[in-house]
């Protein structure tokens, strides 16, 4: 066996499993330049690795229930209580890496404590390249993605708990049946009782999306307020934004964009069993059969860069991928291998050419 071959496959395995150091990655790149026929092999194996590697079946349905029953027999589980003792709670998730990553962070502060709420502002914004997480006065948790803004009252008064969102946020809404939680965006209003959901409504994007994870919500379209839409878990609603038509030009006010919406199911990322749309909460950059144009927009916010695509046909090319902790060059490289284009990164501008 040619020693070069051994080294090649070692580097490939390191790259695909995400364990390659920058030096190792550079050596692999050099090898690929010297022997371009190996690039095709890497593509094929890499493709298989991402999509088709085998997996035995998982647990059968109802396993959790069976387990809880068993647990109850061994340990007397505390009865479900509303409120009660609330303590600091961290949950480390699958995204845990050597650097340490917690993906769900729940934090309750006891109602009677002297602690002031974590954020005492009326609005919170994030810039490109950064995300944020806040707790609202009612205990609801909100993860804010890059380039987004959330406006809320310091104390929720009145019948409803209302917030205004421009951008993308993942909500874990505290249960309070007496006071519905309403998320206002430019295109839709989402009304929830106690649930987790993701809402995406950027003014420079074509659509507004709402993805429901748990619970149930009622969506009202600004363009058609009479017909309300109820979402069930794993439903994804996509509504065209009224101010941007499909070709990017401003739309006439009487365009019936409200009817051209779609209600579908979310796509699950195989590895994490989590909807692709909420992977950003786990600090993973993900796109699911999205055009390069859409991917570019996501990357602009994620990395705080500008992305220019010179070729229109290239803009429409579709990509899927999930990245965790990869820096911009690595993501661009992965896209390039799939999309067969050229790119340059200069300062904070990425240019993509055919």
């Amino acid at each position: 066996m040619h020693p070069r071959e051994d080294q090649f496959w070692l580097l490939v395995s390191l790259r695909l499993s995400g364990e390659a150091t920058p030096e190792e990655s550079a050596i692999l790149d050099r090898l690929l330049e010297e022997r371009p026929e190996m690039a095709a092999r890497l593509d094929a194996v890499g493709d298989w690795w991402s999509h088709a590697a085998p997996r035995n079946p998982g647990l059968k349905k109802g396993a959790l229930q069976r387990h809880l029953q068993r647990l109850n027999e061994r340990e007397n589980l505390p009865p479900r209580r509303r409120g009660g003792r609330r303590l600091f709670l961290f949950v480390a998730g699958i995204a845990a890496s050597l650097a340490g990553f917690s993906f769900f962070v729940y934090q309750w502060t006891p109602k009677h404590s002297n602690a002031t709420p974590a954020v005492a502002h009326n609005s919170i914004s994030t810039k490109s390249g950064s995300k944020s997480k806040i707790q609202l006065p009612d205990g609801s948790q909100v993860w804010l993605n890059s380039d987004s803004r959330l406006i809320y009252c310091e104390t929720f008064t009145g019948d409803a708990r209302e917030v205004q969102l421009c951008g993308e946020a993942y909500f874990d809404v505290a249960k309070d049946p007496g006071h519905p939680f309403v998320i206002h965006t430019n295109t839709i209003d989402v009304r929830v009782l106690g649930t987790t959901l993701n809402v995406r409504s950027y003014s420079n994007e074509k659509n507004t999306e709402a993805v429901l994870i748990h619970g149930s919500v009622e969506v009202t379209l600004h363009s058609d307020p009479q017909n309300k839409i109820i979402l069930r878990p794993n439903d994804k609603l996509v509504v065209p934004n009224a101010n941007v038509a499909a070709d990017g030009k401003a739309a006439k006010p009487d365009m019936d964009s409200g009817r051209a919406l779609s209600l579908g199911r979310v796509h699950f990322n195989r590895r994490d069993s989590v909807a692709v749309e909420v992977l950003w909460v786990k600090n993973k950059l993900a796109f699911d059969k999205e055009t390069l144009e859409a991917v570019a927009l996501k990357m602009e916010r994620w990395f705080n860069v500008k992305v220019d695509i010179t070729d229109d046909a290239l803009k429409q090319m579709e990509f899927s991928g999930v990245f965790e902790e990869e820096a911009l060059p690595q993501v661009m490289e992965a896209l390039r291998l799939t999309g067969n284009f050229h790119y340059t990164i200069h300062r904070r501008v990425v240019t993509i050419r055919p």
Partner: protein
């Protein structure tokens, strides 16, 4: 990564939903029985519940849970096999499950299936390592801790697996054909 579970069943259930499937597949690879694997996963989570107050002392939750699962699985094998010493090397390759290829796969279904077969025929420890890295997303160090081997072993075994997969004659043939086609078109 810090974890302190407290009397919140909701977080516990979410942990189950996140991690149980992976632990099940891992255990199943060893014990080869759906019922036993499910019970082992349940045992792991019972242990997790019992330990919840002290979980802040746990450095890496996944490694912790996978290690418990491995120990339970090995215990089961010891109790239920003959008196041979059970090491990971002695586990059989097991039955093969043919998965469905997603439509956006670029390589042919034939090739994908052949690659899968190669994985199934890997030596037991190699295959286990491959599955933990590829399917359950564990880092090399985590796999090494769970299986009680050195990270170099993990690294080398995975490289061997990739080489076997990548050097399959079908892939070589397909690439050769592609190249010839490209030349012909020019």
């Amino acid at each position: 990564m810090r974890i302190a579970l407290y009397e919140d069943l909701k977080a516990y259930k979410q942990l189950y939903e996140l991690l149980a499937d992976g632990l099940y597949r891992f255990s199943y690879s060893m014990v080869r029985s759906a019922e036993v694997a499910e019970e082992i996963v349940s045992d792991v989570f019972i242990k997790l519940w019992q330990m919840r107050a002290r979980l802040s002392e746990v450095d890496n939750l996944r490694v912790y849970l996978y290690t418990i699962a491995r120990n339970c699985s090995l215990n089961y094998l010891e109790r239920n096999a003959d008196s041979r010493v059970i090491g990971l090397e002695n586990l059989d390759s097991g039955t093969f499950v043919e998965g469905t290829s997603p439509a956006d796969l670029c390589i042919s279904a034939d090739l994908a299936n052949q690659m899968r077969r190669i994985v199934q025929q890997l030596p037991p420890q190699c295959r286990l390592i491959f599955q933990l890295v590829r399917e359950e997303g564990l880092r090399y160090k985590e796999v090494a801790a769970v299986l009680d081997v050195s990270p170099y072993t993990v690294r080398n075994q995975l490289a061997i697996a990739m080489q076997k997969i990548g050097e399959t004659p079908l892939l070589k043939g397909m690439l050769l054909k592609d190249m010839q086609q490209n030349l012909a078109e020019k």
